[in-house]
Amino acid sequence: MFDLFEKIIKKADCFTELRYHNRELNSISVRKGELEESSSSIYSGIGIRVLVNGSWGFSSTSRLTESDVYKTFMEAKVAAEISSKNKKDKIKLAKTTMATGEFEPEINDDLKNHTLDEKLSLVLKTEKMMRDFSPLIQSAFCRYSEIIDEKYIMTSDGARCHIFDMKPEFRVIAVAVKDGDMTMAFKATGVTGGWKDLFAKKKPEELAGDASKIAIDLLDAKYPIGERETVILDPGLVGLLSHEAIGHTVEADIVLSGSMAHGKIGKKVASELITLIDSGHSQIKGHAGGELLVDDEGVPTKKTIIIKDGILVSYLHNRETSKIFDVEPTGNARAFEYSDEPLIRMRNTYIEPGNHELEDMILEIKKGYLLKGPMSGQADANAEFMFGVQEAYEIKNGKLGKLLRGVTISGQAFEVLNSVDAVSKDFQWDLGSGYCGKKQYAKVDAGGPYLRCKLIIGGRQEK
């Protein structure tokens, strides 16, 4: 592949970025004993981006002969030339050390060591396990999927790398029904790594058991009364808050369109207990689902500290925005597939653990909630968010109480982080089965410790 790339770059008289991406995607899903999906797909091709007179042109092809690839390069170049006549603000790229060599994350037990039969029977077995858990579980769903990627990236200014990656996911949903009432619970895991890494935290039967139990417990749960409360967020919710409500506002392209974080570098934006990071590597614990060793512009990724002890210190950049802000690129340019051009995206986003014990954090609460399990999430560029919570436990006089249902939380994320008064010693990655959508998808992860803070609990009045 590099030979072909070199031929193109030799003929090019402009900045040229070539990316071959072969993606193998396998998935199996079963609902209520019925196989809904058993598929295997290959999606591969070359995406070429060129910069002419400060304007981008991008073209991609699934046809890989030298003449087709050259034609694609010319398409990109013509597109850039036409663009440059109409572009007002000319683009420049920051110079940095580009990635060279071979890159592969740590993989324990290659996914290819396990046959399709084994994966299919695991999905069938796990789905059945939930329906067998109790007669109250009337429907269940289980899905296994794996993304296996190989990339070659070369740029006319020095990147030359060959990258392997493997990201499996496993998810279960249990639906419980009683007296016409229906509840649902969801558990999932997703990692960068192999078969052994996927089930390192929890085994399939534990995920199935947890989801079934929660769905059944929710049947008897009551709705909370909406109010502003002291709460403890679990690592999953801390991850969702870090990614969805804070992370997007510090993506430099969103900052330039006027997000909440615009002009806030060097200013205090959160409690001094908060250090928030986005990293291409798996920090603290291994195999985070958003691992990215080199970004899709060929820049080696690193650990990017966004908020340090409550002070905003960095945005997330590609080569274009790092030139505008006069900083080093952070390796956040990502393209989902070969036919996508790189955009600024997050990788593994988290809050650093602190010094508190979770038990003490609960003990110190007179009235509040322990919130676990992120469901849906929405946030705006002004950092206002609304998330659904799967499990909400009352805390009264330092003791955990009843489970509640239908709980949503909302607030302004920076205000919520300002209200943090305790950060636990624990740490978990929890969103590895998640995808982030921003014109294209990206595989990301997020997590953190338990946080104690204040926010708005939305529920409804008692039935």
Binding site: L35, S38, S41, G45, F58, S59, S60, T72, A76, I82
Partner: protein, 444 residues
Amino acid sequence: MELLPICDKALKIALDIGCDETEIYASTIKRIEVFFEKNDLQIARSQIEDGIGIRAFKNKGLGFSSVNSFDEKKIEEAIRNSYILTKSSPKDEFNQLPKSQKTTEVKGIYDPNSESFNTSKAMEFGLNLVNEAKNYDNRVTVDSASFEAIVGSRAIINSNGIRIQEPFSLFTYYIMGWAADDEEVSSFDYQFGGKRFINDIDVKTIAKYFAKNVIGSLGAEKGESFVGTVILSPNSVFELLIFPLLFSINSNNVQKKMSKFKGKIGEKIASNLLTIKDNGILPHGLGSSSFDREGVPHKPINIIENGKLISYMYNTYTANKEGRLSTGHASGGARTAPGIGPTNFIIKSGNVNYKDMISNIGRGIIVTRFSGNTNPVSGDFSGVVKGGYLIKNGKIIKPLIETLIAGNIFEALNKITAISKETKWVNSSILPYLVIEDVNITSG
């Protein structure tokens, strides 16, 4: 590009290695897009993509694989993958492919001139789109806009004798953003347009419409809280009603007991005024094609007639479960096995002019766009009104900010009291303005 010979070869390989029934879907697409962001050109891009999807059954077990290449070796490998998957899959007696039926060719979905459409041409249309909006009023801010041209062909053959190919072209464009006046920022607006033929492309109309909307919503004030009448624009009909309706008429959701419309065929589920059709062979339709993802011919289907539920949407698998024929609603492309989806989803226009609709309302609001959540199972919805206007005594009083609406979709369907003569394309739906009574309107 001739796709059928590629499909023929693939089908032969599949049957030779032992598949019982096999379906080969192939497509080739050329795509050109110019994309604008923050009032400036962001990128011009183009793409050529070939794709082939193989669905095979062996002993009634399912296997699907796809590859985005017409390279013979890669296709053969994909077929083998599909065959391997069938062998592990549990037997399902409803796994059967459709039989060949007579297909009528739909008119007006392919412009031969589109084969030579290029980036310069796309740039011209894209610049016209953005400049028309900016020139309307200098307070208009274009957050993003896009002009995209797609030209391609799709083919399908199966071991039951279906063998068919069809070319198509499609030009789509959108513009979104707001108006800013000193410190004030208007509501966000989004407008979409699409055509099949180059000569029909009209970016200026949607650009003006967008500009007029965002300028018109400047100077918005808080409104009033009441239970009352709303006028939904075609855009907000799409955002509020179409997703839960499509979910509820999807036969898979009906069979899995997730649809509110289960067991309601022949029953009244909406106001007498409401008639909905899905017509896959509408000439020039943005969702038109002669056949669906399984090669079943498209035909017009009545979904709701004068408030009565007439039909769900079926593909071959869900139809087999009920011993009936597919309605031609298998959806998707080369990368996934057939799902279920609409073609041109059409709410029949009514007999009231939009202007008269407004003058007939004592107290109500116009909802230009809706941004919120809808639960397709229960039908509960709540969300924010964008580009809202207060109506009193038949007159538009003022633009609104911070207004929320809430209610239940299935109840709202029964409270439609007027449907406009005017309709508009929103993606591949044709939608009128609707008047709905008894909606909870809350001013923040």
